[in-house]
């Protein structure tokens, strides 16, 4: 394995691993706090039990998120010193803001997890909302950095070189892609986690139809999915248009559009063949891409031929990942629409077995969409680490033998991932049956 490839693989894997815990750290506290609020309002013990159980599982997710995030902060330097040397001063401020957000998140998490009997229930619930708030804040601020890599801004360069002359820190934070990307990845976190939780508790309901604990959990998760998913579709559309404007090579790769053309079609599915510069097996909707991008069905869209060969991303993976994200999103949208309809018609949370099974089927797709979406963003930016400024190959460390840490970290993350799954399984299926909850009242 060559060193650049190993570094990319290790970085991608570490990020792909961390993001799962990151999104859980954003969405789970909100669900816990909502459950606790319901308990405070209604006195229904089941919701208190739910908040407690979720918080135990979340403790595990948080710890693994914290350590994998720490690893990332180091890996930025260990693997990409060229990038950090260049970008550090420009993007350091959002990172330090994020650092403060972590502090507050961890403080309130400590209070939430260990303070059940030490502070009043209201304050405890407030601590939960604060964890959720600072989770969202840290998840949003780190996106500013990634958005900056996609649409670098907030600095001037010495004429004729890329050397940084002056820095406008806040201009870098509020770079063009920040609002759209923050919205899309923030909503994506709630969507993905809500579906994952929904599926788990629908599985519980399939096993024990009247388990009040699983029912309460499924309702909260469904509520979150119902709010977040339609918004996520809208924000995806905005993101795609933004990419078209600011990162045209990425858009061309997402769509497998090889030739610059007026009235460009939208490609559904299909496999791009780079060597022959064509797609096989795709369904093309005439003029749809031009229309979606600009509102004008005949507008010209840049294809990959507008970029020199060495500046093109890997069309195959970017297109596939994009299709996968959109497909997952559509399935998720289908499920929430269906569930909302059944709930509205039946006046109660739908517990028909076929619906529960459908939810079970769809539940991992949010996580899949998140991973796929990140592949679009990161692979679609290649060969640049900072778009049009610095190439990935110029950012990598001179350290030889990078396959060693790469394999080692892969093994470590596989091991941690499997362990977390086993432990979460313990938590979910220790859920009290209805009887137990009734008795404990």
């Amino acid at each position: 394995m060559d060193d650049l490839f190993s570094a990319r693989a290790q970085m991608g894997l570490s990020l792909a691993f961390h993001i799962l815990f990151g999104i859980a750290g954003m969405a789970m506290p909100l669900m816990m706090a909502i459950a606790e609020t319901v308990w405070l309002r209604t006195g229904n013990q089941i919701y208190l039990e739910l908040a407690k159980r979720w918080s135990k599982g979340t403790a595990i997710l948080f710890a693994v998120g914290a350590v994998s995030g720490t690893a990332l902060s180091f890996e930025l330097g260990l693997l990409w010193p060229g990038f950090m040397k260049y970008a550090g001063p420009v993007i350091g401020t959002p990172f330090s803001l994020e650092g403060f957000a972590f502090f507050f998140e961890a403080i309130f998490l400590g209070i939430y997890l260990y303070g059940w009997n030490k502070i009043s229930p209201k304050m405890h619930c407030l601590a939960g909302y604060l964890v959720a708030f600072f989770g969202l804040a840290s998840g949003t601020i780190v996106i500013a950095v990634n958005a900056w890599m996609n649409t670098p801004a907030g600095f001037t360069t010495v004429a004729g070189t890329n050397e940084i002359a002056t820095i406008d820190v806040w201009g870098a934070v509020f770079n063009p892609a920040f609002p759209t990307q923050a919205m899309h990845s923030g909503l994506g976190a709630y969507c993905a986690v809500a579906f994952a939780v929904l599926g788990i508790h629908c599985f519980g309901l399939l096993r024990e139809k009247n388990n009040a604990f699983h029912l309460a959990a499924a309702k909260i998760a469904f509520g979150m999915a119902l709010v977040a998913t339609p918004l996520q579709m809208l924000s995806g559309d905005i993101s795609a248009r933004h990419v078209g404007e600011y990162q045209p090579a990425k858009l061309a790769a997402m769509e497998g559009l090889y030739k610059t053309q007026k009235g460009a079609p939208l490609a559904l599915g299909g496999i791009p063949i780079d060597d022959e510069e064509r797609m096989i097996g795709a369904i093309h909707i005439p003029k749809a891409l031009s229309f979606l991008q600009t509102g004008d069905a005949d507008a010209e869209i840049k294809g990959l031929d507008a970029f020199p060969e060495e500046d093109r991303p890997n069309t195959f993976w970017v297109h596939l990942a994009f299709q996968l994200m959109v497909a997952c999103g559509s399935a998720m949208m289908g499920l929430v629409s269906l569930g909302a309809f059944l709930w509205w018609r039946g006046k109660r949370f739908p517990t028909q077995r076929w619906f529960l099974k459908a939810a079970l089927l769809v539940h991992p797709l949010g996580l899949v969409a998140v991973e796929a979406g990140w592949c679009v963003t990161e692979l679609g930016r290649q060969p640049w680490v900072i778009y049009n400024i610095m190439r990935t190959e110029d950012a990598v460390t001179p350290m030889p033998g990078l396959w060693v840490p790469c394999l080692f970290f892969t093994a470590l993350y596989v091991f941690l991932g499997i362990t977390v799954l086993i432990l979460l399984n313990n938590h979910v299926f220790h859920s009290p049956s209805v009887v137990a909850v009734e008795r404990s009242k």
Partner: protein
Amino acid sequence: MIGVDLFWWIMGTGLIIYVMTGGADYGGGVWDLLARGKEQARERRMIEAAIGPIWEVNHIWVIFIIVTMFSVFPKAFAAICIALHIPISLVVVGMILRGACFTFRGYGLQPGATAKRWGMIFAWASLITPIFLGMTLAATSSGEIRLVDGEVTSGYFSGWLSPFAVCTGVLTLVIFSLTAAVYLLHEVEPDMVQRFRDRAFKAQIVVLVLLAIVYGLAHRDAPIFAEQLDNSALIWPLRFFIVLAVGAVFWSLKNKHDDLARMAVVAQVAGVVLGWGLAMDRYLVIPDLTIDNAGAHQETLEAMAPVFIAGAVLLVPALFMLFRVFKSKSKEA
């Protein structure tokens, strides 16, 4: 004036706080590893209860330092990450295993034997990580990491394998263990307190011996560092301060003044880190990188200073609240 010096002090303060708080969490793991006898399960539970609510917060100081470093001194960060890739990677692995396995043990809902295995990994990782951390810091002082035109030319094994570096690593470990033992005096059940006093006493002796050894070795393996230490204007007050603090630790442990012991240990740790900072004397990597040539941009400094001030103003009361909820003496352990 907002300048690089301010951030040198900010990083130093962060490091001191990390050693005092996060360091003790590693020390807790060391005592977990050394727990023996019939009572070991109970002892481990007490250590766990003490670390549980706060370790994630304490850990963030390390992120704080890293982030400040790469924002303000990017050239030094890049050089350190290249030259010390190996020990830093080992630190990272240790941090991952320590934090993850600690939580797996506490929250895993697994049978005792399995939980115990997580505990073993947690404890061993707590032992190894501080050693590599100390080796990494010592390497920046060694004078062996060299740069030419901003590129590291001294390879990947310079500075961190010398006896000086290894002893600094061990010193770091024992200091962490000492602070943990002293903090635990306030956390464990009454019948265990004397045991931890004895441990703290022994750890303090070892710290003293290692300080002397490291000081001696520095003259051989890190000459510039040692010279700057000896020539620093503050070296005598500092020596005096550290000796006083060490004496106070011994005295208060003997006479069961646990509050004083805690203060004295905190003072001692702060003094040692401060001494290291004095000896570094504005160097980030001796001899080629100082805070003046490590790539700081004035605009960054001016944007970050208000962020740090605002953050600190909010952070202090929040931290205070956290420690009050969990660390007030009146609470049931």
